[in-house]
């Protein structure tokens, strides 16, 4: 029997538009029910571990990084193709010494650990170059789940153009999870890597936690059962995808990753899938239709890149009505995830204002964010906000904490991409299937 996960696509939207309206919002929930773990034929995997070895990593940090990378190598399943890259102003493959990747077994894991022990901190930071080397190495394994782990502690020394070009070059070639250590790196840079390369970015507050985190990332990758899946979105003539964002488990904008499939259709890569659920917010613009007309505003298909097989599909509809009670309703999913995106925006604006010394704006934004986090059930973000802003329990007034640990600020910045899943009410009727008003 096949180990293919079973994909389901659920679409939450209000299809009714007012006369002249042309913007449709829908929340797409994609769930993959994975095959049993460690079943007969595990999918092929290729992993590149990139360790920042720039001068700033000197001392205890490089020691912890070595240990974390060694733990990641240890966690690799036998037979996985892998390499270790040392990153400075250049990118150097430190293992294997020969061309290409090594196959994980007891001996190669030991050799990789030895190579890591010789790793020294020296030089600059050129994240784009590191990623380009990873792309080159992983290109040799097109059928595999291709993944990279990136660890850095500093800001990228490349100019923005070179960095963006590198991300564009790597997009769709592999998935990259990146982690920052210390308090000198820029969350926005790693967020860019996560957005472009469909991975996560995160903050390792205590270098001693690196080992566990690296192990978890490798295990997560080993759990992937399908290498490449794309969201294929058709829009009608004269329509377009205004944006497509992943909104759960984290926020990531996929709009710019579109690869045209035909005149009306584009593919948005989503990377490798294990047993997991992800939620997307799709916004489509279409020409306004006549009252009573119904159109398919978007046809969403989930496609395996290797076989071209369509594994799930669904329609985003639009129907024009002059009944305001219908057209003004917002579907619960769209409302919830719009709120989560707003929460992220408030935190970013608040932190930006705080850094610029505009404390009034910072207080307003972060205070509003704290209330929104609580209302929407985003407890994780609420806790991170508590380190930066406090709410008077009596009056409800927000006040910035006088002293904020730089690490707390980074934790909030990186953690704000994590959204709360919508609480599901099973008894809720499908909002788009409602009965029309009696005319």
């Amino acid at each position: 029997m096949s180990d293919q996960p079973l994909f389901t696509l659920d679409i939450d939207q209000n299809k009714y538009l007012p006369a002249g309206g042309g913007e449709i919002h829908a929340v797409l929930t994609v769930e993959a029910a994975g095959p049993a773990e460690s079943s007969a034929g595990p999918v092929e995997a290729a992993e590149v571990i990139i360790v920042d070895a720039s001068g700033s990593m000197g001392g205890y940090k490089i020691t912890e990084a070595r240990q974390a990378a060694q733990a990641a190598v240890e966690a690799l399943r036998d037979g996985v193709h892998f390499a270790v890259v040392s990153g400075t102003h250049e990118a150097t493959k430190i293992y294997p010494p020969r061309a290409g990747l090594a196959r994980a077994d007891a001996q190669t894991r030991k050799q990789a650990a030895e190579a890591l022990r010789r790793l020294r901190a020296d030089g600059g930071t050129a994240i784009g170059r590191w990623l380009r080397l990873a792309a080159e190495l992983l290109d040799g394994h097109p059928g595999a789940v291709r993944h990279a782990i990136l660890l850095t502690d500093g800001q990228n020394g490349e100019n923005a153009q070179a960095f963006d070009a590198a991300l564009a070059h790597c997009a769709g070639r592999f998935v990259c999870d990146s982690r920052g250590v210390g308090t000198d790196w820029a969350p926005a840079e790693l967020r860019k890597v996560a957005d472009a390369l469909l991975g996560t970015s995160g903050f390792i507050r205590d270098a001693r936690d690196l080992t566990a985190d690296f192990e978890a990332m490798v295990e997560n990758t080993m759990g992937k059962a399908v290498a490449d899946v794309a969201l294929r979105i058709w829009t009608p003539q004269h329509g377009r995808v205004k944006y497509l964002k992943q909104v759960s488990p984290t926020l990531a904008d996929l709009t710019g990753l579109r690869v045209p499939a035909d005149q009306l259709t584009g593919d948005y890569p989503t990377g490798a899938w294990g047993a997991e659920a992800r939620v997307y917010h799709l916004c489509v613009e279409i020409p306004a239709g006549a009252i009573g007309q119904e159109v398919r505003g978007a046809w969403v298909r989930l496609v395996r890149a290797d076989s071209g097989e369509v594994v799930a599909r669904g329609n985003v509809l639009a129907q024009w009505t002059d009944d305001l009670a219908l057209s003004t309703r917002v579907s619960p999913g769209v409302a919830h995830y719009t709120g989560q995106a707003e929460l992220f925006g408030l935190i970013q604006e608040g932190l930006g204002a705080r850094a610029a010394g505009d404390l009034d704006t910072a207080t307003a934004r972060l205070g509003r964010a704290r209330r929104l986090a609580e209302e929407s059930g985003n407890d994780g973000t609420a806790r991170l906000l508590d380190r930066v802003v406090e709410i008077d329990p009596g009056t409800g007034t927000a006040r910035l904490r006088r002293t904020v640990d730089r690490a707390d600020e980074i934790a909030l910045d990186t953690g704000s991409v994590r959204t709360a899943r919508m609480r599901r009410d099973p008894g809720e009727p499908d909002p788009s299937g409602g009965r029309g008003a009696a005319g």
């Binding site: 829009t235 009252i291 009573g292 119904e294 398919r296 509809l317 129907q319 008003a437 005319g439």
Partner: protein
Amino acid sequence: MTAAPATGPDETGADGTGGARRAVSGACPRCGSGVHPGELFCECCGQPLDAARCERCGPAPVDPEGYCERCGLRQPSEADHAETEAGGAAGVSDRGLRHSRNEDAMALVSADGVTVGVVCDGVSSSPRPESASAAGAETGAAVLLAELRAGADPAAATRAAAVRAAAAVAGLGSSVDDAPACTYVSAVVGPETVTVGWTGDSRAYWLRAGSPPVPCDDSATPTTPVAPTAPAGSGTPAGPVSAGPVSAGASASTGPMVPPDPAFRSAPVPLRDSVLLTEDDVVAPSVLSAWLGADAGEAAPRVRVFAPQEPGVVLVCSDGLWGYLEDAGSLAPFTAPGTPLEAARALVRHALAAGGRDNITVLVIPFCPPPP
């Protein structure tokens, strides 16, 4: 004033099948290769030639779910747009543009040279109006046919069918507060007479074949509503839009109403020019004084019998049509040029073009008088 002739019968080629047939004899809509009449698929690219037509954007593939693969429009489904033909007659029922579903129902059957048509319009303010109209139309047509076959005369059969339809609709309601309701109109078109029966404001018309905007052979008749003041060559009906559906001259020629007494039998009223055959049961525009439903009084259908003197058609319709075009003289040109199905489609298209505020149902039943 209505511009009926300009948007009506001239466009018969623009509907689904007519247009597709034209495309087939020219070029493939997908690859442009020449295709010959009668071919079902393009020889060059395999494009299906008959089905490949979107109602809104023209030649384009429609996927199995019913959406145009180019503009996304959901193509009309059975519930949105239904067409039927029987015994040379045709019916078209359409959801219109404003309602989310079609609450009208129609039935058309033909046997032994007699064609029976029923139209019911669900009352939107009642619960489950579409169940009322469906029950009314089905029951009415079935009972009419059975009564006629059993030898009943058309007037008696019409009355019996309307009463049974009323009972069927009343049976759908659990109380007067939960009473699906609808209107009812039936037409029995036989070899010599036309019999109509109704409750509510759905209508039947007699439309004379070739009934011209400007009569050329019978200009002396005082009963043609549009003739005396219509300028030559103009298709626009003259005179003010009357509050009543029938001009004074026309109603004078239709003779007296058949009284509601079931025992009463009168001679068929002769018919020449196009005229409204029914009289709305309303207390005010679109406020019904009679309907079918558990909350309605005892069924008291009104029945009339006519004897057309010339060929023509009986038009049976819901207010989705006559709300836009109610003058018999303006309706007649739609039925002149094509088949009954083309005429029904043209009338529905006119109502859609005019706004399609309500569901639209149109039956077109031809009548040919016996040779004298």
